[in-house]
Symmetry: C2
Subunit: 361 residues, 2 copies
Amino acid sequence: MRHRMSLMEDYRYLILAEGEFGPLTSKTANSAIRYIGDRVVGVIDSKQAGRKVQEVLGFGGDIPVVGTLAEGLEFEPTALLIGIAPSGGRLPLHWRPTLIGALEAGLPLVSGLHIYLSDDPELAQLSELEGVPIHDLRKPPEDLSISLGKAREVDALVVHTVGTDCNIGKMTAALEIRRSLVERGASVGFAPTGQTGILIEGWGISVDSVIADYIAGAAERIVLEAAAANDIVLVEGQGSLVHPAYSGVTLGLLHGSMPDVMILCHQPSRTCAYGAGGAFRWMPIPSLPEMIAICESAIRPLRESKVIGIALNTSDLSEDEALTARDRAEQQTGLPATDPVRWDPKPLSSAILDAAAAKAR
Amino acid sequence: MRHRMSLMEDYRYLILAEGEFGPLTSKTANSAIRYIGDRVVGVIDSKQAGRKVQEVLGFGGDIPVVGTLAEGLEFEPTALLIGIAPSGGRLPLHWRPTLIGALEAGLPLVSGLHIYLSDDPELAQLSELEGVPIHDLRKPPEDLSISLGKAREVDALVVHTVGTDCNIGKMTAALEIRRSLVERGASVGFAPTGQTGILIEGWGISVDSVIADYIAGAAERIVLEAAAANDIVLVEGQGSLVHPAYSGVTLGLLHGSMPDVMILCHQPSRTCAYGAGGAFRWMPIPSLPEMIAICESAIRPLRESKVIGIALNTSDLSEDEALTARDRAEQQTGLPATDPVRWDPKPLSSAILDAAAAKAR
């Protein structure tokens, strides 16, 4: 039943970011370095070979940037992570020797690309021949089914990070809240629903990549799994119930995960829906009270679930602006609000611990 | 741009329903006979060979049931339609000679199965060799993208049949309403979103079969296409915003199609959500006023859209019960209500014509 990507959580990564390693370009590489940097042994980018990751990204410490796979192998990686996305969606020809070389060297491939490496005939054949796995983080399990609503019956408190928009920090908020909860002694599971969360945790399902009929079923499955071993489950949110492109994924995820309570994630500077080069400028972000009503109404026919806190992303605000935004959010909603990256996530972990205690009673 | 399944709308069908032709078993066959019976030349089922379709289904007239493909070919079909679903989801071995024989006889295959015939290596190869197409009705186009919300900008009046549950008659209601609108001289396009609608119309996208990220994008595409040539577009609904398994598809379809107005479909005898052998008995169907509020609230952040009429499915009620249900629906909602199959769809087509006139002003 466990949808772990065998041993992935123990991999020591060499990251392929050839020609594109940088703060704005190599998104997957950067997430890996930020969240599981202790398991990153090096980054391949011949243009920046010889530098340290810290010098390129501004974080990441002494992890070396190397010019070739052969140089990277000296740092004893146990897997190769694709850290960049190809433009045009196809596998670039010049990546192929590196991917083949990695498999031949016994390194599993880990990829969050939309295209699946395991569907590439040459790579798939070599993977089988060498007995070295390919992990496509976005590729859903083949045995998904529809949700039966079972997640509403688990003993664990299910917490879902919903948002006023996509790309707003729902995964980051959940990870920071988890850290806070763990520090306070709670038994917490994180249910990953996107490729970065799956990379970090070593399991999960990319819910926006499944067949539409199975969105809720995928959410149900990972919640049941995370709930089996923990008292609190944090379900990573995706998109927004008012995002013109992604709302279907968001509602399916909400109804499949059946949260007891929700944390609403918001970026105060965001005024209209994100994505597609500004194509959603016509779509204003609702106010926090409006968005709380939208989220609670969307699940009310299935079960009662309340937003119990606001996680703000104030990364583009000054300290003063951030404090003002926090105070305003608390005044508008009457709920605890914090930026769990900038400040202590404690107001949110406290609200969750209170809810867990109430559910256990 | 047009996602027609080349010439499918002109096919004269021989239907494969071997061993399972009957009122409750051969769902796709029965839909084809009901809606495009004038293009059905025969049904293959060796157990019932020699009978007429009318004798088996109670409708369908003199269409013959034959024992073999060879016998069926005498009625000059131009395509073979798979009219039953295999138990277990795999292609039954005993179907294979018929499918191969059909392709060899120059008959395209048309299938609404979850498994794609065009993915079967032997059938795909033969299809290419003979130059005879395979149409998998559920298989989405490969070039789907996310919705940009463009459907809100079309000149045509976009009408979406939403529902209080899945499997409640949303397609049937839309088809009956279309008939009524066409009789009254309107230029109406039907945007099919499920395999039966696609079979009937010869084009469309099965929105529950697309990658989750593209639900709204698929809806947007078919609405833009139907709107280009018509003054009114009827978008076939799927599922329900409160169905625990399918709500994600429903919201994506709603946000992608951006209807000006909605028709709410309801079966008065239905008390809890449909499907999975009664697994959703815990999920009560909301009242009509509640469901209207849910549908209108779900799209309000993106655009204002109102439910303007109620389409009832009273197929399991007596005439008296049906009339009572209709009166009650009208009293509860203040909207026109009718069973568009049992009675005249006119109350609904009138409401739509009024809305079209108001939009054109």
